[in-house]
């Protein structure tokens, strides 16, 4: 204990070994009103043609195009205007030759009409108490008419399972009458923060102690990733109560995250707890910075993530290893963070034995994507976490990276994701 030598595995191999245990979750049917931000459990299908009736895209007059075959500036054609059809109203008349109806945008084309002439090309007038209009041009059959199903036909797949329900998706769901929506059930993530040094957020600082931030951070990351969480509180570094709580939490949740207790030190708990649980350790050292001590184990198909107690390492460990498992449970096959290529706008000169995931802020300019160290004061870990919307991925084995270098970046706030980890 304490001096164990661990073999680091490559990040991509670590992710792969975790994802072997990731699986689609369950689905539930919820009210349309509650669906924002959830993900579809099945493809979204058009339940009717769009439009569902022959529709006018403009305000104007509907009539038979045949009546205008000989129309021209010197030979205007006149129509008697029979009625007015507003959007949502039904035409009451079948039009005959020489008859037109005033029609509004979105209204149903009357029987006997096959085109719509916009107001701007017609001249209205009254005569003997009747309404007329005249037109000086020929019209084609179908002109300014949106036929049934011209935009969409019943049965068309409009979005795949795993898609995020964003405002546009809400419009689609409403259009097709999905007042109940089948969505992926949010997986429940258990969270336990370990460390004798941890104070609660509302406690005053004490010498030698720090406030627990990892537990709350991971909870917020789980929420952002689409999960629910159950926070089991913080624990001192004591084996017996920790073991019991981990065991209980593992039974009550879909996956479990602990923070702290994974380093190779005197009081490091998690390896011992994993052993007592009979959990299979997938890896306990990853060739990355920060977070090299990240440990992941499996017990009866459930994943246990032993994240580092260091805030940066904890943050990175969650995004690399936990988030794709959650996204997969939400039926999203694009479960990995979207990857981009960006130009560095800050130096990062620390030598890199392992691949480094640096908290960064991605920005956009005329040259494309640029990436900056994040935070108002870039030198400190805490504020850089708050400002991060991405990780720079800096491969190991170099002396450092400089302004102008092109690097890969993982986008933490992109909603769709991609199907492969670090292409």
């Amino acid at each position: 204990m304490g001096m164990e030598i661990r073999k680091p595995i490559l990040v991509a191999d670590a992710v792969k070994s975790v994802m072997e245990y990731a699986k689609y979750g369950t689905q539930e049917t919820i009210d349309f009103a509650e669906a924002d931000g959830r993900r579809l459990a099945e493809p979204l299908i058009a339940t009717n043609d769009v439009p569902s009736f022959d529709k006018s895209p403009y305000d104007g007059f509907a009539f038979s195009s045949k009546d205008t075959v000989n129309a021209s500036t010197i030979n205007p054609v006149q129509f008697e205007v029979m009625e007015r059809v507003g959007a949502g109203e039904l035409p009451t008349l079948k039009l005959k030759s020489g008859q037109a109806s005033r029609i509004m945008t979105g209204a149903k084309i009357p029987e006997g009409a096959d085109c719509v002439a916009m107001f701007e090309v017609c001249k209205s007038f009254e005569q003997n108490g009747k309404n007329y209009m005249e037109i000086k041009r020929t019209m084609q059959a179908g002109q300014n008419v949106m036929p049934v199903g011209s935009e969409l036909t019943t049965g068309t797949a409009l979005a795949e399972a795993g898609s995020l329900i964003n405002p546009g998706m809400k419009a689609v769901l409403a259009t097709f009458g999905y007042h109940k929506v089948k969505v992926a059930t949010k997986p429940v993530v258990g969270i336990i923060a370990t460390g004798t040094e941890l104070l609660d957020i509302d406690e005053p600082l004490q010498p030698g102690k720090i406030r627990n931030s990892n537990g709350y951070m991971v909870a917020a990351q789980a929420k952002r990733a689409g999960a629910e969480y159950k926070y089991y509180g913080k624990l001192a570094d004591e084996l017996e109560p920790s073991y019991k709580l981990v065991k209980q939490a593992l039974e009550e949740t879909d996956l479990l995250i602990t923070t702290g207790g994974v380093s190779v030190g005197d009081f490091d708990l998690m390896p011992e707890i994993f052993k007592r649980l009979g959990a299979k350790v997938l890896f306990n050292k990853v060739a990355m910075r920060p977070g090299s001590v990240t440990t992941v184990a499996v017990k009866e198909g459930k994943l246990l993530f032993g994240l580092s107690g260091n805030p940066s390492a904890c943050y990175v460990g969650f995004e690399l290893f936990v988030r794709p498992v959650i996204q997969k449970a939400l039926f999203n096959d694009n479960c990995y963070h979207k990857q981009a290529s960006a130009v560095m706008k800050d130096d990062f000169l620390k030598p890199n034995p392992f691949t480094r995931f640096v908290r960064s802020y991605i920005d956009y300019d005329e040259q494309g994507l640029s990436v900056h160290l994040s935070g108002m004061d870039k030198s400190n870990v805490v504020s850089s976490l708050a400002g991060a919307n991405s990780f720079m991925v800096l491969p190991g084995g170099t002396r450092g990276y400089k302004v102008g270098d092109q690097v890969n970046v993982l986008l933490l706030e992109e909603m769709k994701g991609q199907s492969k980890f670090l292409l």
Copy 2:
């Protein structure tokens, strides 16, 4: 009525005229647990030094560096190991020359010690029932010690007002004991959908009618933009009841959105309602597609947004005109959508009299940013809304745009935003 000629104004001028009425909102104090996704009402300040005590970043031994002045591989120096200091524990002894304490990552450096040697460079042994360690190298004062305030000093600003409370920000808030957080109060957006053609989401389709999707879509957009909404339902195109509801909604909300009823047609309500309210119309035609009939008015400092009944136009109108007002109310000076430059991956060949905002999907590849028409079937409006994470901004006056053209894009899901509209 019906044939009124409207003068279009430029999009940028329209946005500017709306933003003259945008203002910072109010603030409220909420529990830390509820703060995810909210925006800070004031800058976030460090309430203590980080670290707040001299701290060990590693597991190892703490002692006085002076004792190692002559240490070398042929002259190892030995220390008696006095106690073990775990993270969160306090050292009980002041170390003297020749004494060391075993110390864990995150623990407080004992008095009398000024450096930490990692386990890997020390050799532990027992002799006569006492614990010893020896080291074969010199150590410097301060080596492997994180002094008080070395990362952050009390009073440092860590994030500005208007910043989004993301997972990293939660970690910062927790670190500094913000169990209560001052956040921007969510502005309340009133929503009224007008149109005799509108059915409720749970009604079967009827000839000539469509289901109301705009009201729900705008509600989801308001939510995404950080607002609360109050949905007043849908109304037939009838002046008296519509006027009354608009008047009531305007009194009960911070800003009001109506959808539909703004075109130049027989049954178009909003211009008449604005007149009766005595609201000042800022503009009623914008040189853009879709959404040229977007109308914005002001009544006693409150903005009324008359968005088009066309779903695409409604969506675009919200994002261009309403969202920045909401973001400003949330203290975010970067209230406009982040702008990027991207390469087109699809043709868009429609001639463009006005600037066109095309629903698009932004993606990333080795060449940088690319932009695609959105939706599984790119030709239909409804599914393209669901897949959109951006607008292509296609300036007017051209014959169309082709694959490979570099165009400006507004990013709808980027969290930070920018301080100017369309640079």
